[in-house]
């Protein structure tokens, strides 16, 4: 371990130290305000280190590769985790029971997401994935007096565990063929079918590689809730406490996607036509299923769950098109990173607002009727939610539009016409249900009894996110250049 190694790991170390301090603080003095303070300081310290290493490109042991792209993802995740902390404090402060450990778990889950983003080896990949997953089981089940959250937690635990097992088994099969767990060597030289390593005949080696890749694909699809592996998503999102719905939809999924992007590009999976075909099918089903099922939802959390299924379907198009555009698949990075950042900020506004409504009323309010008349009750936050929904729908002047344009352009260049037509159909359906939410905010306020009176930090963070979404939509050049320059 050299000094550069420590510098590269400093964000993770900051979070680990923060988690340890939180554990000690909770052991000796339970105080929700103090816990929140330490959590925020931890995240700010982590952000400071992340900004300090933005230009660093360093392989720290075979396990972690710290490069500008993953540092960018980590900044997005930690920023969102920090905002989640503000939202969670509002959510928890009036609830009975011991709520301090909630923040500890948020810090641990964020640490898992950063490890996952930096991972270049199966060991770090699986560690990050499980650190995030296991902390999330606890977070989902946190209001354990609530039947729904228990149900959501056990469903998430079982399905997430099963998908991890599938992922691991797939990696084990690849390892049996290639003898490497390091992502760059995972499939190196296997692209040409004549090459067979190990005692198996070339035929069996190829079958094992396909089976292994299919299992990995299935495992990752579960984590990204791509259709047809999406069944758990609406239930888990609905049952989780509102701040955690946000965490699941943004940081958790984003980190898995960032890791998948790296695995896909570094591991050169795009050279396997079968995998690309599989991704295409997943993408088409996800876009259609996500958008069609979102139409009938009365619960906003469920609606966002289906919408996130569709959005990750859109994101896959970048991965599919990348292989045909550039031989090393590197062109997938820029559009998908931009889209992901836009999606994360946008979704966090919507879930944050639901959390704010839920904490103002001290129950779980996520129905369409709960935001009825929001424009008359709290115009500022209603405007934030409208911007968020318009961005999710892909209306111009928002980050969602630029992201979608980016992916569309990539699809045109790659000539993926089937995917593009599905993208257009999906977006068309999407506009309907997003606008439906906006219209319900303009209805008569007397039909809804829920109030909305968030504390200052929550309002400020939601407005900051809204400004970010608008900024990325109106003036996208800086981020584009940053991403382009770093890839």
């Amino acid at each position: 371990m050299t000094g550069t190694d420590f510098l590269a790991l400093s964000p993770i170390i900051a979070l680990a130290v923060g988690a340890s301090v939180l554990l000690l603080q909770i052991a000796f003095l339970r105080n929700l305000k103090l816990t929140t303070g330490i959590t925020v300081v931890t995240f700010l310290a982590c952000l400071f280190f992340l900004f300090y290493i933005t230009k660093l490109n360093h392989q720290t042991t075979p396990l972690l590769l710290v490069d500008p792209l993953s540092t960018f993802f980590s900044i997005v995740f930690v920023l969102c985790a920090c905002i989640t902390t503000f939202i969670s404090y509002e959510y928890l402060k009036n609830r009975p029971g011991r709520n301090d450990e909630f923040f500890l778990l948020v810090v641990l889950a964020t640490m898992g997401s950063i490890v996952l983003t930096y991972a270049t080896h199966l060991a770090s990949f699986i560690l990050g994935l499980e650190l995030m997953g296991i902390a999330l089981y606890g977070l989902i089940a946190y209001p354990h007096q609530d039947d729904m959250s228990l149900e959501a937690a056990i469903k998430y635990l079982v399905l997430s565990g099963a998908s991890s097992a599938a992922l691991l088994f797939g990696f084990a099969l690849l390892y049996a063929i290639t003898g490497s767990l390091f992502f760059p060597d995972l499939l190196s030289g296997l692209a040409s079918p004549e090459v067979a390593v190990g005692p198996q005949s070339p035929f069996w080696a190829r079958q094992l590689i396909l089976l292994g890749s299919a299992l990995i694909l299935a495992g990752i699809s579960f984590k990204l809730s791509l259709a047809p592996f999406h069944m758990w998503t609406p239930d888990v999102y609905e049952g989780s406490p509102a701040p955690i719905t946000g965490f699941l939809a943004t940081i958790s999924k984003g980190a898995v996607f960032a890791a998948t992007l790296r695995l896909y590009v570094i591991g050169e999976f795009h050279n396997f036509p079968t995998i690309v075909t599989g991704l295409t099918i997943l993408s088409i089903i996800s876009i259609l299923v996500g958008n069609l099922l979102a139409l009938r939802q009365e619960n906003i959390k469920r609606l966002l769950a289906y919408s996130s299924i569709a959005h990750f379907g859109y994101l896959l198009i970048a991965l599919i098109a990348a292989g045909t555009l550039t031989p090393n698949g590197i062109s997938a990075i820029e559009p998908s990173a931009y889209y992901l950042a836009g999606y994360i900020f946008t979704t966090l506004i919507a879930t944050g607002l639901i959390a704010a409504i839920s904490s103002s009323n001290n129950e779980e309010n996520a129905n369409l009727s709960d935001i009825a008349g929001l424009f008359w009750k709290n115009p500022l936050l209603a405007l934030c939610l409208s911007v968020s929904l318009l961005s999710l729908a892909g209306i111009p002047l928002t980050a969602g539009f630029i992201g979608k344009l980016y992916i569309f352009q990539m699809g045109v260049e790659a000539g993926a016409w089937l995917l593009l037509s599905i993208l257009i159909i999906g977006s068309g359906i999407g506009i309907y249900y997003y606008l439906r939410l906006i219209f319900s905010m303009t209805t008569d306020p007397s039909s809804s009894r829920s109030t909305l009176a968030p504390a200052l930090p929550v309002t400020v963070s939601l407005i900051t996110l809204t400004i970010l979404v608008l900024y990325l939509g109106i003036y996208p050049q800086p981020l584009m250049e940053y991403l382009l320059w770093n890839t």
Binding site: L122, A123, I126, L127, E130, G133, I134, Y137, G138, A141, H144, D147, M148, L150, E151, A152, A153, I154, K155, L157, V158, G161, A162, S164, A165, A166, L168, F169, F171, A172, L173, Y175, A176, G179, L181, G198, P199, Q200, W204, L208, M231, W232, P234, D235, E238, G239
Partner: protein, 104 residues
């Protein structure tokens, strides 16, 4: 090249059988405890495949992954058992069909 007495393909086949058994258990069983056990079987099938492959290549990497999988499985089961306790308390049953009330 092949320091194994048992050929790698046999190990992989056994692991695949175990994995399938675990997956079937996960899909068929309704009791939460049995589902958690099936999950363990699936994770351990993956671990077995790693150990077999690691012995085949004469590396220790796969064995380290075994340690990680053991730890992950333990952590997962610890949280899972905590949830099982709460479920038993709230619902007075461990049948997942009874617990499952949301559509989907």
């Amino acid at each position: 090249m092949n320091p194994l007495i048992i050929p790698l393909s046999h190990v992989l086949m056994l692991a695949a059988l175990l994995f399938t058994a675990g997956l079937l258990g996960l899909l068929i069983r309704r009791n939460v405890i049995f589902i958690l056990m099936s999950l363990e079987v699936m994770l351990n099938a993956a671990a077995l495949a790693f150990v077999g492959a690691s012995a085949h290549w004469g590396q220790t990497d796969g064995q380290i992954i075994l340690l990680l999988i053991l730890t992950i499985a333990a952590a997962e089961v610890a949280v899972g058992l905590g949830l099982v306790l709460q479920i038993q308390r709230r619902f007075k049953t461990l049948d997942l069909d009874v617990v499952s009330r949301m559509r989907g």
